[in-house]
Each structure stands twice: as C-alpha cells, then as structure tokens.
C-alpha cells in the first residue's frame, strides 16, 4: 500500500475534556475509495474522533491529513473535500427538504443555481425527489435520515463522514441507505462510517477500526478481525466486538 492511496491519515490524535482523555493516541489511515468502519461502545471516542477529523474540533495533539491537506492548518481546503452527516438530524425542521439542502449548499460555497441543481440530484439519490417541497418536520425518521445524508453530499465531497446514519429507522430506509453508501463507494468516494449495528458494519465496511476508552484497539478487514478469535465463517463481528470491549454495560 503506497502513501498515495491513503486518503486520510490520522497520527497520534489526542483530545481531553476537563482532564478526561476522550481520544488517546489514535492513529489510522483510510484508503481512497474504501468504506472504513469506526466501531466502539458509547463513550469510546468515536464522535470526538470524527469531530476532529471533520475540522469541527481541534486536537490537543497529533495531526490529520485529508487528501493531502492538514486538518489543523488547512481547514478550508479540507472542508472543500469532505461531507459530514452528523449523528443528530442536523436539519431545520420548519424548512422544506429542498430549502435545507440549498441553504447548506450555499454554505458549502455553491452558487444559487449550483445549489438548486445539487439539491435536485441528491434528493433523487436518496429517493426523496417527490418530497422536495415538503417540510422536513412532516417527514418520517427514515426520510429525515436520508435528507441528513443528502445534505452531506451537496458539495460533491471526495470523503463522506457518516456518524450512525441508520439510528432508529425501519429496515427499508436502512437498506436504501446501504445501497446509497455502496453506490457512492463504487463511484470512488471514501467513506468513514460509524454504527452500533455490527451486521451493518460487516456488510458495508472494507475495513474496521474498533475503539474503546479513547484508543484504537483493533483494526482490519471484517474477516481478518473475525479470524483472530475463531473461524471467520462461524464467528460474528458482534462476538469480536464483545471479546475486545467486554460485556459490562456502558453509558
């Protein structure tokens, strides 16, 4: 694997809040065009890591480069390359799906005409073209999740961050999201994906990193991770996860 194939490189990332180490020396790379899964129990440091990778939060130490640009020093260049779909439904409920998308498109630097065209195209991608003018407030949970993803695609990013994009939605919507993510990957997009659903990670991710207590404790393709504790055809990713992170309850 050459460095040129690594689209994202995180080196020794650290972040503490009020003295508590949320991310403690995390390093990994994500290759161009792969779906990289970041798994971990609640409080493991996944969201903090994503916030640092996506320029929202400054790391206490360490560095991240995305597409050859440093997140710490070249934030604006990095933001041109990335699309972020946060865990929360980051939408204006009083606005229509189309207005939400056009607004965020303008914030991503698109002209009015470009934003409208991108909104139309991305609503089609997530299967909501016929609901473009409806208020987001009236949408089902699954539809809101799809709009949430569509907004992240507004600036035609080369890398997409998806933080638990399938929480609380029905199997049909979830399947639609899987298909969308797979088609984006097939189009060459690099994806960082976090989820608590192990079968989802097993299906989608080319490689998986497992975090716990702010550290990256395991990294590899799903089959490699399973092979570490038994027969990969018999062992589930959930067993690997529980084996690595323990069975005690988390927050």
């Amino acid at each position: 694997m050459t460095a040129a194939q690594d689209f994202l490189t995180a080196s020794s990332l650290h972040k503490a809040f009020d003295g508590a180490q949320a991310v403690d020396g995390v390093s990994f790379t994500i290759r161009q065009g792969e779906i990289f899964g970041l798994l971990g129990p609640n409080g493991a440091g996944k969201t903090t890591t994503i916030r640092m990778l996506s320029t929202v939060l400054q790391a206490d130490a360490g560095d991240v480069t995305i597409g050859g640009f440093s997140v710490g020093r070249q934030g604006d260049e990095v933001r041109r390359l990335i699309g972020v779909c946060p865990q929360e439904l980051a939408l204006y409920p009083e606005l229509s799906a189309s207005d939400n998308m056009i607004f965020f498109g303008r914030m991503a630097g698109l002209s009015g005409r470009e934003a409208k065209a991108a909104a139309r195209q991305n609503l089609e991608t997530v299967g909501l073209a016929d609901r473009a003018k409806d208020k987001v407030d009236k949408f089902s949970g699954g539809m809101k999740r799809r709009v949430n993803i569509a907004i992240a695609l507004m600036n035609r990013p080369r890398m997409l961050f998806l933080d638990e994009p399938t929480v609380g939605i029905d199997p049909q919507s979830r399947n639609h999201i899987f298909e969308t993510v797979e088609s984006l990957r097939d189009g060459g997009m690099t994806v960082l994906y976090t989820t608590h659903y192990m079968e989802e990670a097993d299906r989608l991710c080319d490689r998986i990193g497992i975090m716990d207590h702010g550290r990256l404790i395991s990294l590899g393709a799903p089959r490699e991770l399973k092979a570490r504790i038994g027969d990969p055809d018999q062992v589930t990713l959930e067993s690997v996860f529980l084996d690595l992170t323990g069975r005690s309850l988390r927050d």
Binding site: V56, D60, E88, A90, Y92, F103, R106
Partner: protein, 391 residues
C-alpha cells in the same frame, strides 16, 4: 454567506407564526400601556363653531388651518343656526368670518374677525378665541408679506406667478420648520417630561429584550445540531457571527419600528426628523444588544442558561440605566448607570426628543453603543472559538 445566515434566520422567524405574532403583539401591548398612561395627558381640545359669511379662498384657508390643529375641531354653522345655539347656550362662542374677508386680506386693508359669545365666552371659548386669533394673525402677516413682496417686484421683469410661487414655498417651509419651537416644561422641573423620558426608556427596554434573541439563536442551532454541521462547511466563524448579528438586529428593529411608529402616530411626541433620528439611534442600540446576546450565546450551553443570563443582564441594564427613574448626574447611582448601555441610549434619545438636539450631537451615545457592538462581537467570536472548537 453572512447574508444567507441572516436571511435564513428571518425566514425561520416568519415561518414560526407563534413567535411572529408575539413579536408584533408585544410592542402593541406595550404601546397600549403607554397610551393608557399618557395618551390623555396631551392637552386641551375643543370645537370651534365657525360661520363663514365670506366663502373666499382666505376664509377657506383659515378654516382649513384651524381644522388641521390637534386641539381644534371645526364645526361650520349657518348664521341662524349659530345664533340659535348661542341663544340657548348650546355654545358659548362662535367665530364669524365676515363677508369680504378674503378680498380685504388680498388688498391689505384691515378686516376683523368677529367673535360672538355669551358673556366672556367661558374658559374654553377664550382659549379657542386665542388660538383663532393666533392663526388669523399669522395669516395676516403672511398676507402683508405677500403684498409687500409683490409690490416690490411689480416693476421688475419677474413673472408675478413665479413670485407668488416663491412666496408660497417660503411660507410653507416656515410653517413646517418654525424658527421658534415651543418646549413645555413643568414649573420647578427643568428635566424632560415624563413622556419624553419614558418613550426612549421603554423603547430601549424593548430593544434590550433582543439580547435573548441573540443568545438563543446560537444555543438553538447547537441543540438541533445545525451549528456543528455549519462548522464543517466553508462558513467561517466570523461570517457566522456577522450573519447571526444581522438577523438579531433586524428582528429587534422590526419591533422597535412598530413601537416607535405607534408612539409617534398616537402620542405625537415629535416630527418626522425626530422619528428618523430615534430610528437611527435604535439601530445602534439593536446592534449593541444583539452583539451582547451573541456573547451570552457563545458561553451558554443550554437554552435555560441563555435565557436566564439574558434576562438578568436586561434587568440590570433596565433598572440601573434609568429606564423608569432619573438617575441624576452625580452619586453612586449615576456612576453605576454610566456602566450601562441603557443610560447612553436613553440620554441620546431623550436629547433628540425633548431638547431638540440633532443626531449629530449624539456622538458620545453613538460611539458608546457602536463600541459595545464591536467589542461584544469580537469577544463573542473569540469565546465561541475557544468553547466550541477548542482553538
């Protein structure tokens, strides 16, 4: 981009019908209170019964001028009708414009108005007579001026119509902006009237409420997750804050315009120039309080924190800034008041309203409010970068 942020905020504001209705209703309710307290204070009002035996242009102009006065309502009567009303004491005084009034005025010959009255005409009749006398004397002066100027220019090659137009324009200008302005003050009290102080006080207090708007806008965006999403776009923190600042200030001004328009229209506290100057000062106040609201928004983690901090700040500014009482020029209260933006805002507005000062004379107030806006915006931006992104 800041404009898009501001437009989005305004769109959300308009779409939220409850908030929109409340923001329109509150200034109206506040104005109703003001009107209830001071609306009747203004003054004398009476009906002037007029008998027009002339019917000429000057007679009609006199009636029209009297009718345009706030204090006077004109009721025209036929001569017999006026006599009958005087006989049965239904009225105590009638103004009779004699036949030939307009013609005499044009020729410069003296032509008296006749006040027909029962006895002395009563207090009201005497006041009405005084007002009619003042208006008639002014018209007489204007007629004399017109006659003198026309005589003086009659031999020249200037067209008479041009001279008359120039005279009419000059007289109209003097009527609109009289060289002598009357300011009413209570005996032993050289301070502005209660209304002149309270209108700016309430206006500033209302503008202060928009601290809460500025504080909430950031907290609300944080709560629904859009703030974090915005931070992954190409929007910079500076542009975000300018957009939020613009929208909060515009929303504050929306309410200020309602309140100010009602106060000027119904309480007649000043002219158009005063209105424009108070509006300009309101923009300065709105800017300062919106920026302070963003400081609170940058620090607050929850909606409750934002609202409480904004309310406490507003109360402090309102109470110690002299909204409801005069804090005087010296003493600890005056010193404390100088630490509030309310004091500077109210002083400037009161000076415009009651002392007839111009906006240009309010340099200290404008500088203080503008300075607060600039410094608060800078602090809010810096705090946000530290608290939100850890930079």
């Amino acid at each position: 981009m800041p404009l898009h942020i501001a437009l989005l905020e305004l769109k959300l504001y308009v779409l939220d019908r409850g908030e929109l209705a409340l923001s329109i209703a509150l200034p109206i309710a506040l104005f109703a209170l003001m009107y209830g307290a001071f609306g009747g204070e203004s003054s004398f009002s009476a009906t002037a019964d007029i008998v027009d035996l002339d019917g000429g242009a000057h007679a009609r102009a006199l009636i029209q001028r009297l009718d345009s006065l706030d204090e006077i309502t004109v009721r025209e009567r036929a001569p017999q009708d006026a006599n009958a009303a005087l006989e049965r004491s239904a009225i105590t005084m009638a103004v009779v414009i004699p036949d030939g009034f307009s013609q005499s005025l044009d020729s410069g010959a003296p032509q008296p108005l006749l006040f027909r009255q029962r006895g002395s005409g009563g207090d009201t009749g005497q006041i009405v007579a005084g007002i009619v006398r003042a208006v008639a004397q002014r018209m007489s002066g204007e007629a004399q001026l017109r006659g003198t100027v026309l005589d003086a220019t009659s031999g020249s090659n200037i067209e008479r119509a041009d001279v008359e137009r120039a005279i009419a324009e000059t007289l109209e200008r003097v009527r609109q902006n009289p060289p002598i302005r009357v300011v009413e003050r209570a005996v032993h009290d050289e301070r502005p009237s209660a209304l002149d102080r309270l209108v700016p006080g309430l206006l500033v207090m209302f503008l202060m409420f928009s601290i809460t708007l500025g504080a909430q806008t950031l907290v609300e965006e944080r709560r629904i997750g859009t703030l974090e999403r915005l931070m992954t776009t190409r929007l910079t923190v500076t542009k975000l804050f300018i957009g939020k600042f613009l929208s909060a200030a515009l929303r504050a001004m929306f309410q200020a315009v309602i309140l100010l328009t009602l106060a000027f229209a119904a309480l007649r506290i000043g002219g158009l120039v005063d209105y424009a100057e108070l509006l300009a000062l309101s923009v300065c106040v709105a800017a300062a309080v919106s920026a302070i609201g963003l400081v609170i928004g940058a620090l607050a983690r929850t909606r409750d924190q934002a609202v409480w901090a904004a309310v406490v700040f507003t109360m402090f500014m309102t109470v110690f800034g002299g909204t409801f009482f005069d804090v005087g020029a010296d003493g600890p209260l005056a010193t404390l008041a100088r630490l509030t933006i309310t004091r500077y805002a109210i002083e400037s507005m009161s000076a415009v309203l009651s002392a007839g000062e111009s906006l240009a004379q309010q340099g200290v107030g404008i500088l203080a409010l503008g300075g607060v806006a600039a410094v608060a915006l800078t602090i809010a931006r810096a705090l946000f970068r530290v608290t939100e992104t850890g930079r």
